[in-house]
């Protein structure tokens, strides 16, 4: 498994040096107005930050954009799939965001533009970005954590939650 260990390291380095990554702190200061916050329901065990990840203009069809959510240690990806999908955000309903850490053993997933899947080099798990991150085949006992996205009228894309536990942390928000 040596090869895979070095892969995760490589994946991390790439992510940490990648552009377009907002930190949790930077985003948290600029979110919702006070009255909206008052109406906010109580968080379910975990209070997720609303982080700006990118602007729709940063996205090109079927090209993954490296992001991180809910903090810089949790790499992920934003995708403009080019076709409307269930759970897709944006004017075309085709923008989705996922964790890119395999929920099986924590290896970095690679995007296959050919069939719009995220693939794990560790143990061959595959997740379908067009189907809510459903595991096509693999070892993980959960489908791929997907971001709850909101896009404001300026086209800024915010992540505001994750629908599964992220690998390597027992609380999605550390």
């Amino acid at each position: 498994m040596k090869r895979c260990n070095s892969l995760i390291d490589a994946g991390r380095r790439q992510f940490l040096t990648g552009a377009g990554v907002m930190t949790a702190g930077a985003a948290a200061a600029t979110v919702l107005p006070a009255e909206a916050r008052a109406a906010e329901p109580t968080a379910a065990l975990v209070k997720y930050p609303a982080n700006r990840l990118a602007n729709v203009k940063d996205l090109k069809a079927n090209e993954p954009l490296d992001v991180a959510y809910p903090d810089e240690d949790a790499p992920g990806v934003l995708l403009k799939l080019g076709t409307r999908v269930p759970g897709g955000a944006g004017p075309d309903g085709d923008i989705v965001g996922f964790s890119t850490v395999c929920p099986h053993k924590g290896y970095p997933l690679a995007y296959s533009a050919g069939d719009k899947t995220l693939n794990c080099p560790g143990h061959y798990s595959r997740f379908d970005c067009e189907k809510g991150g459903q595991q096509v085949w693999g070892q993980a006992t959960q489908n791929l954590p997907q971001y709850a996205l909101r896009i404001d009228d300026k086209g800024d894309i915010y992540a505001e939650g994750v629908d599964e536990l992220l690998y390597g942390r027992l609380s999605n928000v550390l």
């Binding site: 498994m1 040596k2 090869r3 895979c4 260990n5 995760i8 379910a44 065990l45 975990v46 997720y48 240690d73 949790a74 269930p86 929920p103 099986h104 053993k105 924590g106 290896y107 690679a110 296959s112 050919g114 069939d115 899947t117 693939n119 794990c120 080099p121 560790g122 143990h123 061959y124 798990s125 595959r126 379908d128 067009e130 189907k131 809510g132 991150g133 459903q134 595991q135 096509v136 085949w137 693999g138 070892q139 993980a140 006992t141 959960q142 489908n143 997907q146 939650g161 994750v162 629908d163 599964e164 536990l165 690998y167 390597g168 942390r169 027992l170 609380s171 999605n172 928000v173 550390l174």
Partner: protein, 820 residues
């Protein structure tokens, strides 16, 4: 949308959590896990001192960390009558899986009975009896009294042949030494039941008679051999899906070349290289893909032969190796018999084999070259032969099995490092029973006898014929009719009048009825026919011992309470024996009653000491205490002694060149090719357009009985998939996920169309043994000479039934193959 749990946080395992040894009870690999449990009111903290892992959990953990668990590894259960949190996660220190969790084993916790979190509420909690037209709860004594009275009455009228039994005979959740002994002592000790069958086949027989008759026990190597082999020969085994962590943790290092240091250390100056693999399978599986990814296509040879023609291929390899002199003459001379006879009898040329198998001559020669050509300097090439259901449930089981063992013996590959000729297996093993010699060979074809109206009472232990037998549609039709006769008779009598009830049941039995007693942990499909259901405990709700595919024996400790009144199977068997003794005494049959003595066990450990410890080879060295101390690594059977408080085991069988024959010599077998051997198969092939190949899938391998109540699994496979070539789908007007009917003269069933570009035209592959579409419905009753079913060679037609239903519409239908 795909199913999501919406869990963003899990309770932290505190530093003082209890730890129990767990071996996954689903498949034969037997991966090591640990169960951590602690009081429901508390949890640990993120500071290193506050959690079991001693690390800062406020930080992101890296890949392969032992300090993380998925939501599926967590639950809230009862332990000694109290609510506890439980985390069951893979054990880093187990040599089998080294911390890897499969998609099944990593759900052990989530697939436990929890009223607190509503998981597996399907579990049986009370004995159930047919009362007022439905199954109703009752006490153990009441249920067992009814079972004993009807069983004793049937035996009094029909003899012991009137008692039919279907029983698990494996390990893990498919038995375990305690439970096979409990049932074995009841049916083969107190009684001599002949009409008995095993959980997934219609008779009481070995699936590998062929290998055993040659003196070669089928689990003869160790998992490390897959790291040491020059070439792995995989026959009808899709190891990535059905031996997942054995494949990932032991095959892959060899294919990647990362086990080279291990090879050098073991073999000294002998030339060694990255491993190669020959895969014999009509279908391109995810295993083939993974092998190509790891070893490079140049080191993988997938032989997609015509279905059922393996025997001709192996005979050709054997002939070629003998002609070339690529054999181990010293070994053949010292440890075997009848080599020359086999060479003469099994002669098949490469050209003949190519014609029969549909493979190219060049590929057949390339494969045997990879397997047997001596290495530089003349060193023997080390080949490991691994086979499973493609061979075992394939054409001409007995001879095909033997022809592969012939090749392994001739090339000196049994009992040697980097070798072995092994079945890959399904469940763990855990067989300990009194002699079954009275069953005879061929064993009774029990399903057929039941269909013919034989027998009066049927005891079922952890079997579900409606789902996992051949000719299943006909079996179900007749079985329902026969058990309904008894139900109708019971409906006409007040339940509280026991003599009248037994008389009514017996009267119905005389008219062709059948009284059905089903012992299981869940309400099975065949349980729909039962008159009595008895709730059993499963692994972890009882202490349970088993061995895996390299004979590695471990103890899974009891870490939670069984649901309600459920009991270990061995104790249910003992209580049945107690009641039989009482009832037979009351009937004035003291001589028979006395045979039901020796069942005064109070615990599963009592059954273990009476059975495995008292009767099995090396069992005298094995106790619960010693096993507990040896954790998830245990020892490899047979035990040969105890040293420094540890059981000493056996790494490989036959390492001394002595085999299981009176003179210690393995016997080569004559294995002539005879076409499709089981009656009716050739005619079926000629009549129907599609091969309905069938087998297992990663997500539900040996766990489907619980998966039916697992949201994550049922979201992915609401119906069994049938992989089809896209052009075949287009010809039939099928879209992704449409429900199709698969049918032939044996019956019909349904599946969900899954487009698979790598599927050969007119060769479909359907998920086997699935509750929402039973593949066995279309498998003919044809078996081999020892009543081994031939599931794989099935032909049928396919037609559309319906558009993809709602539960299917959100599914992905992309290729299962990893893309690098």
């Amino acid at each position: 949308m795909a199913y999501k749990r919406q869990i963003g946080r899990l309770p932290i395992v505190p530093a003082n959590a209890k730890v129990h040894n767990v071996v996954c009870h689903y498949c034969i690999v037997g991966c090591g896990y640990k169960a951590y449990s602690w009081d429901a009111r508390y949890e640990g903290g993120t500071a290193p001192a506050d959690n079991k892992f001693g690390v800062d959990l406020a930080e992101q953990q890296g890949a392969d960390t032992p300090a993380w668990y998925a939501p599926s590894m967590y639950n809230l259960v009862r332990q000694d009558g109290r609510d506890v949190h439980i985390v069951i996660k893979p054990d880093q220190d187990c040599s089998v899986n080294s911390g890897l969790g499969s998609v099944r084993g990593a759900r052990i916790a989530e697939m436990s009975y929890s009223r607190q979190r509503n998981t597996q509420l399907q579990r049986l909690t009370d004995p159930l009896v047919w009362r007022y037209g439905q199954l109703q709860p009752t006490s153990w004594d009441d249920a067992l009294d009814l079972v004993a009275r009807v069983t004793a009455a049937v035996i009094a009228e029909q003899g012991e042949d009137g008692l039919f039994v279907s029983a698990f005979d494996h390990g893990g959740a498919g038995g375990g030494y305690e439970n096979t002994w409990g049932t074995g002592k009841l049916y083969f000790g107190a009684m001599k039941v002949k009409n008995i069958r095993i959980h997934n086949r219609p008779a009481y027989n070995s699936e590998v008679h062929g290998s055993r008759d040659m003196g070669v026990g089928e689990l003869n190597n160790c998992y490390e051999d897959a790291q040491l082999a020059d070439t792995i020969v995989a026959v009808g085994t899709n190891a990535l899906e059905t031996q997942t962590n054995y494949f990932l943790n032991h095959w892959v290092p060899n294919l990647r070349g990362t086990s080279l240091d291990k090879k050098k250390a073991e073999f000294g100056d002998e030339p060694v290289a990255q491993g190669r693999v020959v895969i014999v399978d009509p279908r391109r599986t995810v295993t083939v893909n993974a092998c190509e990814v790891e070893a490079g296509k140049e080191n993988v040879l997938h032989l997609a032969l015509n279905s059922g023609t393996d025997l001709a291929l192996f005979n050709a390899w054997f002939t070629y190796a003998a002609e070339k002199g690529w054999i181990d003459k010293a070994f053949i001379g010292a440890s075997t018999k009848d080599f020359e006879k086999a060479v003469a009898a099994n002669k098949v040329s490469i050209a003949e084999a190519a014609k029969i198998t549909g493979l190219s001559e060049a590929d057949i020669v390339k494969a045997i070259t990879w397997i047997a050509e001596p290495k530089a300097g003349g060193a023997r090439r080390r080949a490991m032969f691994a086979y499973e259901k493609g061979l075992i449930w394939g054409n001409d089981n007995y001879r095909t099995n033997q022809s592969l063992v012939n090749l392994a013996l001739a090339t000196g590959n049994i009992g040697r490092p980097g070798g072995g000729c092994v079945r890959m297996g399904g469940h763990q093993e855990g067989y300990s029973r009194p002699s079954d010699a009275h069953v005879g060979r061929p064993a009774a074809y029990v399903d057929k006898l039941l269909i013919e109206g034989k027998g009066g009472v049927h005891h079922i232990w952890g079997c579900d014929h409606y789902k996992t037998t051949l000719n299943a549609m006909e079996f179900k039709r007749v079985y329902k009719k026969r058990t309904d006769l008894v139900k109708d008779a019971m409906n006409a009598v007040p339940y509280g009048d026991r003599p009248a009830m037994v008389a009514a049941i017996m009267d119905a039995i005389r008219k062709g009825g059948l009284f059905s007693v089903d012992v299981d942990i869940v309400p099975t499909k065949v349980g729909e026919a039962a008159h009595v259901m008895l709730p059993a405990a499963t692994s972890g709700e009882m202490n349970l011992t088993s061995m895996n595919g390299e004979r590695r024996m471990r103890l899974t400790e009891r870490y939670m309470d069984p649901p309600g009144a459920a009991m270990p199977d061995c104790l249910i068997a003992a209580r049945i024996a107690n009641h039989m003794q009482r009832v037979l005494g009351e009937m004035g049959k003291a001589d028979i009653a006395t045979k039901f003595s020796g069942f005064d066990w109070k615990t599963e450990e009592d059954a273990f000491m009476d059975g495995y410890h008292g009767h099995e080879k090396g069992g005298e060295f094995v106790t619960y205490d010693l096993l507990r101390a040896m954790g998830t690594n245990g020892f490899q059977e047979p035990a040969t002694g105890v040293q420094d408080g540890k059981i000493v085991g056996t790494k490989r069988l036959f390492a001394d060149g002595k085999f299981n024959k009176p003179d210690g010599k393995a016997v080569f077998a004559a294995t002539q090719w005879r076409g499709l051997e089981a009656p009716g198969k050739q005619a079926e092939k000629d009549k129907y357009p599609f091969l309905i190949n069938n087998g297992r899938a990663n997500l539900v391998w040996q766990s489907a009985y619980l998966d039916v109540e697992n949201e994550f699994v049922m979201d992915r496979w609401p119906y069994p998939f049938i992989e089809m070539n896209p052009k075949d789908m287009a010809d039939l007007g099928l879209k992704n996920g449409d429900l199709v009917e698969v049918y032939n003269d044996n019956g019909s069933t349904q599946a969900m169309a899954y487009p698979t570009p790598t599927a050969k035209p007119k060769q479909a592959f359907m998920l086997f043994g699935y509750p929402t579409g039973v593949q066995g419905n279309v498998v003919s009753a044809g078996v081999n000479e020892f009543v081994i079913p031939n599931y794989k060679q099935t032909w049928g037609s396919i037609r559309k039934i319906a558009d993809a239903p709602k539960s299917v519409q959100h599914l992905t239908f992309k290729s299962k193959e990893y893309i690098s």
